[in-house]
């Protein structure tokens, strides 16, 4: 974008999917078929959950409107994860409308120093292991602060091929505190007055070496906390085991992380990372999406409801993708058949404080040793064979072991795909996907799962996904 000239730009991405899972009715009566079809699919593949494998492509639209010059730009984005045309009822929160609104200030370089500033509503991601995405699996390994605030980046060129980046940001959670008297419901997106105004402070040190093989490594520190007296209520709600509403403690989440990526034009792209997440009374915290989610998901899915959000989570991840065409033929042209391979591995271990029930009035609260010293891992591999300019065939396989304490929760997913596009290198893909889940006897959805407990899980999925970016 040239200096001094104001230019509007429009970029974006869309992904729309026709998808349904196939199951069997347990006891059909007259007028009912044995085979049933479910949308949204009733398979164990929930977005942002550890048991999710990205086999179901889902919906997402992001429209980015940018206006500015070479120094400053205004950025707006309109987003949804559920466009209205295919819905059968209005799902509050699925239309995100103006998701991001921020200014980006690109200060001209001062010698080897190049400062940049972002301010407004936005959400950076840290710990993405893929070359242009999160990798095989959805969650960022380090975390993503979301809200309103600032991010300052100072770029310092140590040598022509070696650059140091310092990043620092402060953010407030997007909505602040919910006023007392609001009753959480589907109509207000579950807004709960016990959620305090929360804040995120984060800093990052990044070193990047450019060249034929580009290497980037980074250290991360993120701290999410709240100290808000308005969240405390008069009485405890005994149905929420995670928190004593009459005695709400200050909440904290600390994330320490490391990640590194290596990019080579022949050998492909390797990403690796690790994060250490420590929470204290973190259940009501909002604003920092860690590898395990925000405070509520960390509590319900990782440390157990009775911990109130106090525990530790260690996560490790690895992601590798390569092109056999590039690897085997130095003068490879992208306008030719190719086999690409992507592999990913994620492991997570939790340590909790199951006896930390002081103050709760819930008589049913129990020590949740199902979460303490629990190891979870998943790995998968995907291969895409592009044999002509408009068609490719792909196969993806995943193994998910959500509980080291119960091997019968482990399950597998196999997903062949046919991919169509308008040219060897195109901006769009059209995929026909079949997914088959092989569940263990004890496989189940995580807390808050949308998989209906009444009808059980489906083990087959058919999907038609289209996506395009511009």
């Amino acid at each position: 974008m040239p200096f001094g000239q104001w230019t509007p730009r429009y970029t974006g991405f869309m992904s729309a999917t026709f998808q349904g899972s196939i199951g069997q009715r347990t006891a059909p009566v007259a007028g009912q078929s044995k085979t049933v079809f479910h949308t949204p699919p009733q398979t164990l593949d929930e977005y942002a959950s550890f048991i999710g494998t990205n086999t179901m492509p889902g919906q997402w639209v992001g429209m980015n409107f940018i206006c500015g010059n070479g120094v400053i730009t205004a950025n707006l984005s309109l987003n949804t994860w559920n466009p209205t045309a295919p819905t059968t009822y209005y799902q509050i929160g699925s239309q995100l409308f103006l998701l991001s609104a921020y200014l980006e200030l690109n200060i001209p370089a001062i010698g080897p120093l190049h400062p940049r500033l972002m301010a407004g509503y936005f959400g950076p991601f840290y710990g993405s292991l893929g070359e242009y995405s999160q990798g095989m699996y959805t969650n960022s390994l380090i975390g993503s602060p979301r809200g309103v605030g600032e991010l300052t980046v100072i770029e310092y060129r140590l040598r022509p091929t070696l650059t140091l980046f310092l990043e620092h940001g402060i953010m407030a959670s997007r909505n602040g505190s919910v006023p007392t008297g609001v009753v959480p419901s589907d109509g207000n997106g579950g807004a709960n007055p016990i959620y305090p105004a929360s804040w995120v402070h984060h800093a990052h040190l990044i070193l990047r070496r450019t060249g034929e093989t580009e290497v980037r490594t980074a250290l991360h520190y993120l701290y999410n906390w709240a100290q808000d007296d308005r969240a405390q209520q008069t009485f405890d709600n005994p149905t929420t085991r995670e928190i004593n509403e009459a005695y709400i403690k200050d909440a904290h989440i600390t994330v320490l992380g490391w990640d590194a990526t290596v990019r080579n034009s022949a050998w492909g792209f390797l990403g690796a990372g690790a994060s250490y997440i420590q929470g204290e009374n973190a259940f009501p915290l909002r604003g920092l999406n860690t590898f395990g989610g925000e405070g509520q998901n960390l509590t319900d899915r990782w440390w157990g409801p009775s911990t109130g959000g106090t525990g530790k989570l260690i996560a490790l991840g690895l992601n590798y993708n390569t092109s056999l065409g590039r690897m085997l033929r130095p003068a490879y042209s992208t306008d030719a058949p190719d086999v690409t391979i992507q592999a990913g591995f994620i492991m997570a271990y939790t340590l909790t404080h199951p006896s930390n029930l002081t103050g709760t009035t819930d008589p049913n609260a129990a020590v949740p040793d199902v979460f303490n010293h629990r190891l979870r891992y998943k790995f998968g591999v995907e291969s895409v064979y592009t044999f002509c300019s408009w068609m490719a065939a792909a196969l993806r396989a995943d193994r998910v072991a959500p509980n080291s304490k119960d091997a019968e929760e482990t399950f597998y997913v196999l997903a062949p795909r046919l991919i169509f596009r308008t040219n060897w290198v195109s901006r769009e893909t059209i995929s026909i996907i079949y997914g088959r889940w092989f569940y263990g006897p004890h496989s189940h959805g995580e807390a808050g799962s949308t998989v209906s407990g009444d009808v059980g899980m489906d083990n087959q999925l058919i999907a038609l996904n289209v996506n395009l970016w511009w």
Partner: protein, 528 residues
Amino acid sequence: MNDRFNIRASRALVILATAAVALVRVGPVHAQGGAAPAPDTSQELRFDPSLSLDPTLPQVAAMAGGLTPAYGQRSLSEGEWRFDFHGYIAAPLNMGFNSRKDPLPGQSKTVLHAPPVVPDDLETFSHTGVVPTTYVQLNLSEGNSIVTANVSILAKQANVSESFLEPAAQMGITDVFLSILPPLGERVHMQALLGAFTLRYGATGEYDEGRYGTPLIARISGVGEHVAVTTGWKKFTFTLEEGVHGQTNNASSSISPDVWNNFADPGAGSTFVAHVHAGVGYAGRVMVGGHFLRAFSQDDRDGSAAPDGRIDVYAGDVRLNLGRFGHFYAALSYTDALQARTVSRIVSVLNTLGGKGLMDNYLGAQSGGTGQLLTVGGQYDLSIGRLVSYPVPFSGDGPDLFVSLFGMQTHVSSTDKVGDPQTGLPYDNVTKRKIGIEATYSLLSWLAASARYDRVDPDVSDKRYSFAVLSPRLIFHTGWQSTDQIVLQYSHWFNGSRTTVRVGEPPVEDITVVPDGNMLSLAARMWW
């Protein structure tokens, strides 16, 4: 100034006089058409008219005065990526007039209602489209000559003018789809739509949903695919279309129907729609189509005792582009519903929402969603200016008289023998009919006068439910062919003794409510 006015006035009188003569002289289409030199289409396929409306067209009734929006220009090469932004806005101020039965001190006898309390609910057969409604659609696309990404943003309520929050009226990002036009040569034309979009079959207008804003066959929303292939032989074209649609969410049993969720229906199951269409066209003038669609649900989450439901629609239609003799469309549609209560609202027959909507408006609550609708309808549009100026092409930069005739009839057979307990209207063996005429005279480049008359018989055998609407209008615009209009409209309803309106949320028929007899409206519309 006076000379210009006199020229326009005399030109207008000539058009009016000639129009009367021309209307008498208009004989069979082929007789008149035979005098005109037929376009040479032996080497070039004529793809219009089509079997369905383009998904990017607004989901609204025709605008006053026979005006039709024309939208964006595609990129011409594979290498050129082009951004396009077009849309439509309609913002009406509507004021219904009625009388208070027993005013108390401090209360006026005359009461003013917004929105007007008149029988014009979109889902009912009584809907005429006379009452303008708020509608905004923004279409953004990015693509080349082969593939285009389309995103549309919709709202049926503007927040600045509402008195309470209706989240579902702000539909947000509604359509998201790819349009693919593979280069298959000059004799084969193929278009594939993939993603989330809405298709409409049975649209009576040439480029819109017609005067009633009601597709006579069906409206199919959802996410899925649609492929249309057209080829030709001499002057004939042959079109085949197929599509499969599904939905992305489903109301769970824990959701209570309410205004904020657009009355989510936990009783509806996951629904899929499969549809096929075939058409034969001739010389770009005639298109005869056959249609079949099946919407079905096999879902065990909608209540263990609920049977599988389906809605089948069989239809045929004919569309005639008659050149100076105007545009004609007619359709015959047969809807067969079987235990359709569980069919969701991604399919819409006569603007009703799914199987439950069909029950609420046509089949009755006691039918279980089983019944049949036989619908016939059509619309004829004629520009007298174009007719009388022949063989000189009519540019539109002058006075014109535009006439539109329209009507539809639906016969309902239902297993509900009880009828509507609120209104007393029967569900079974009832025939519903409505007809209308609209004439618009473009007097000046900035002014047109229009009048529309509608008559509606919710039950042709019981005139107590019938009503008529007379709507004179003044239409202001910035040029003969401008893309804007400001419409000042007065409407008067001639209501029967049992004419009913819908009130409340969700809207239900209430025989005790006296409808407004008059309405004033000031509506601004523009498209680009």
